[in-house]
Symmetry: C2
Subunit: 186 residues, 2 copies
């Protein structure tokens, strides 16, 4: 995956620090990335076929072109992303608060594609440095969940459009209901 | 916990279906609830002291009055909530899409306190019924994460204010930084 050449900026998520015990949470992060408008997720440094299968099955069934890649070294991924003109945003509780500052406006004003770094646990200190991240962004400055942080970042970045996009090639889709469940074959 | 009598509506989260294997995700859901402005979380039907300790420790350290309760039967909780004039919102991928419809406006227009039902797994069918939920709300109609759904619902419900609130009695707090980490004792 690389910064695409489409007109409206796209987002790819890099999941750092995944371990065996993180299967479920990483799957939630990947599904969040997909549902909120990101183009793909890179599971950095390690492989996890079980998580990949889960995500690929969802994409196969529910549509779209979400790419799940594994095993790519994070440093190399970041370096390549930057060399191709993309921005790197590190989501961290310590960063500039998306609500009380203008960091999101500055990111959007750059008009570039974004690689979002999402850690599984305490990240290397270098994630905060200019060599790695162009921006450090906090979704509030309280400890909570990388899943929630990613969801809100993508929600704000795409202005909510991620939630109303159509997923091409979907085999099934949900028709929103006030009561009950309605699923149709697409 | 019950619908409070404060002027601006408050939100309590009811986590249904928690099991031993859900510890981590439930903790993420509870921390999300806290960080995004909810008043508390009820772990319905079961107890989990480990999760409670985790959440209480965060509240002790980072401040605020977030209440974590356990073991209350969900049916009784919903019944009491409604009898005291509160609204019940069920978060589900099958519900009215918060982005493409007016469900959130209708919820906010009611001006009542909200109990948000968040499932851990497939919920009982009755969650969709009028006896239980006043509204069924979807954060997009794609499968993703209850953590992300809750985060975005709370973000929209409170208009982002949850992310800038001060947590009273905090022992430490983060000062947002463009680079690095800054934590101060409060």
């Amino acid at each position: 995956m690389e910064p695409s050449t489409r007109e409206s900026p796209s987002v790819v998520v890099l999941r750092w620090g995944h371990r065996e015990r993180d299967k479920r949470l990483t799957a939630h992060v990947a599904l969040t990335a997909r549902a909120l408008g990101a183009s793909g997720l890179i599971l950095a440094d390690v492989r996890d076929d079980k998580v990949k299968d889960t995500i690929d099955m969802v994409t196969e069934r529910w549509g779209g072109t979400f790419l799940f890649e594994m095993g790519k070294p994070w440093k190399q991924t970041v370096k390549e992303w930057k060399s191709k003109g993309g921005l790197v945003v590190h989501l961290t509780a310590y960063g500039e608060n998306v609500e009380t500052g203008d960091v999101l406006q500055r990111i959007k004003a750059a008009g570039k594609n974004v690689l979002v770094l999402v850690g599984c646990r305490k990240v290397p200190t270098e994630f905060f440095s200019e060599e790695v991240s162009d921006f450090n962004v906090a979704i509030g400055n309280q400890p909570h969940s990388e899943c929630s942080s990613l969801a809100i970042f993508l929600y704000r970045f795409f202005g909510g459009k991620g939630l109303s996009k159509e997923f091409e090639g979907a085999k099934i889709r949900i028709v929103p209901q006030a009561r009950g469940k309605k699923v149709v074959k697409a």
